[in-house]
Amino acid sequence: MVITEPTVVIPGIDARPCKTGFVAIKLHYSSDPETYTPEHVAALKASMPSWRFRKEYEIDFTAQAGQPVFESEALNAQSRNLRNPIARMDLDESGKLVKRERGRLAIYQDVRESWRYAVGMDVSEGVAQSDSTIEVFEAFKREQAAELADNRISPPELGRFAAAVGEYYNRALICCVRPMHGITVLRTLVDDCHYTNLWHDRMDEHLAAMPTERLGWAKGEGRSPRLMDPYIEAVDAQEVILRSMQCRDQHGQYIYDEKGLATLSKNTELNTALRARHGDMVVGCALAYRACCDVPKARSGHSAPRQRSTDQIGMPANDPLLRKLNKRAQRTSR
């Protein structure tokens, strides 16, 4: 049947032609009454939240709007991980990190010599609007190690601060947003601080017919599924350890908007452009998580980031028990 006008093919299957030449088909479960008996549908409805049933079975694209992005159970489970900072640090006159009672950087984990760290940065203008954030994660266990959130720090100063934090945490891999003031921070890191361990993206440059490397995260921030989806999965699977209570609470403020994109609930009344610019700790965490995934394995001193075995146990690679297990596994494989 060639579709040239909107057509009900059989009850439950609607087809209509599109401007693009495609035929759009809506395939509803009612077209399969043998499987989807009234009892089965009732059981399905009872087994999941109503919005999820509407989304997955009734083909309702807006059912997700207003629902929390991060599962509340996963965030509640983070409560046992929350800590007060063990110290606070700030920059001294020479640009090095020193302990200060009211320092802007909250330290949750002492730096360890052989461990690798990743830093995520979201940048604001520094005029008392949204926060600029620096989130430091230990790359192996994905554990929050330090945090800065300041809405008055200027982008160049944030760049110098980030360089000091990166150096302090064993030359951590820094993943910073590129749009807007992010580029100022990146230039400060490279030109003024000579910090080179920066997350970069490789893009095909068609004019030059060769790949070029671009520093920083290019495609959106809090509303970018490419950035947020893996992080949401990791938080929901409790693969991330959050230490800051304020940061955990910000996760709870994220909801899906009518387009299915993550947004801060208190900003839903703002227009899309303004919401997209809003920076916060969750974006910093998502960028840090992305950097954690990209910390080079060979240099990390740990096994691959997403492997289940040792990562989940939280065991360092040189642990005697782990060596013993590996030897046993090798013997078995022979």
Binding site: I3, V9, I10, L27, Y29, I59, T62, G260
Partner: protein, 230 residues
């Protein structure tokens, strides 16, 4: 083929003729292929997990007809409608009965596109399962090469290829048919769509299948590409 099949009671010559006639019909229309030569794996069924393709269901017949007559399809579906199996079977039909076909089966991750034949999982995994369960396949099929990501029939210049999301592989080739499974959760589906435009405009097949999720696939489905800030 089950031992108690009526085919087994036939004299050998009659059986061969019957199978050959059915295969000939299957080559002409996928409905015969689904009806007589396709088996699926139902992991939920403890007693009889391998079963004939549920061809008798009205929505399967309707979707087969729509796919055959409309080369560009974007399908928003409820969950568990056996559609991934159906489109794998239909692209397998293209692979078996047409010549010079480069068929790409795309999923979010390459692992999902490759899948596992033993578990009847993934796109190529499902295709391989159906391919290996075609009754009398040794008599009916020529030599088919299988690698981790591809199934190839060199005699007919046909390739069935599992690819991950994104435009990179599509851009370098003009394929005959592309099936993108769960394209609503592929962040790079817009790029893949753009890369596949030569296929789309050149008369190839493009089938996007997804469960409702706000995405580029939704815009394609709702025909709102290029409208406003979409």
């Amino acid at each position: 083929m089950a031992i108690d099949s009526p085919l087994m009671a036939m004299p050998r010559k009659t059986l061969q003729l019957r199978i050959a006639a059915r295969w000939e019909l299957a080559s002409r229309h996928p409905s015969y292929f689904l009806q007589w030569f396709c088996f699926t794996l139902d992991q939920h069924d403890q007693r009889q997990p391998i079963k004939p393709f549920p061809w008798h269901k009205p929505h399967i017949q309707a979707m087969t007809g729509l796919w055959l007559d409309n080369p560009l399809l974007i399908v928003a579906k409820s969950r568990q409608m056996v559609e991934t199996w159906l489109f794998c079977a239909l692209h397998l039909w293209l692979f078996l009965f047409r010549r010079g076909q480069l068929i790409m089966l795309q999923s979010k991750r390459e692992e999902d596109a490759i899948g596992n034949e033993t578990a009847g999982d993934g796109l190529v995994g499902r295709s391989l399962f159906m391919l290996h369960h075609i009754p009398y396949r040794r008599q009916l099929l020529g030599k088919i090469d299988e690698t981790a990501t591809k199934i190839e029939n060199r005699a007919q210049n046909n390739t069935l290829w599992a690819i991950p999301q994104g435009p990179d592989i599509i851009r370098q080739r003009t394929c005959s048919a592309l099936f993108s499974d769960e394209c609503g959760v592929q962040p790079d589906f817009d790029d893949a769509y753009t890369a596949a435009i030569p296929t789309i405009l050149g008369g190839g097949r493009f089938t996007g299948l997804f469960t409702a999720n706000p995405s580029f696939a939704q815009q394609l489905f709702e025909d709102t590409l290029g409208d406003g800030d979409n």
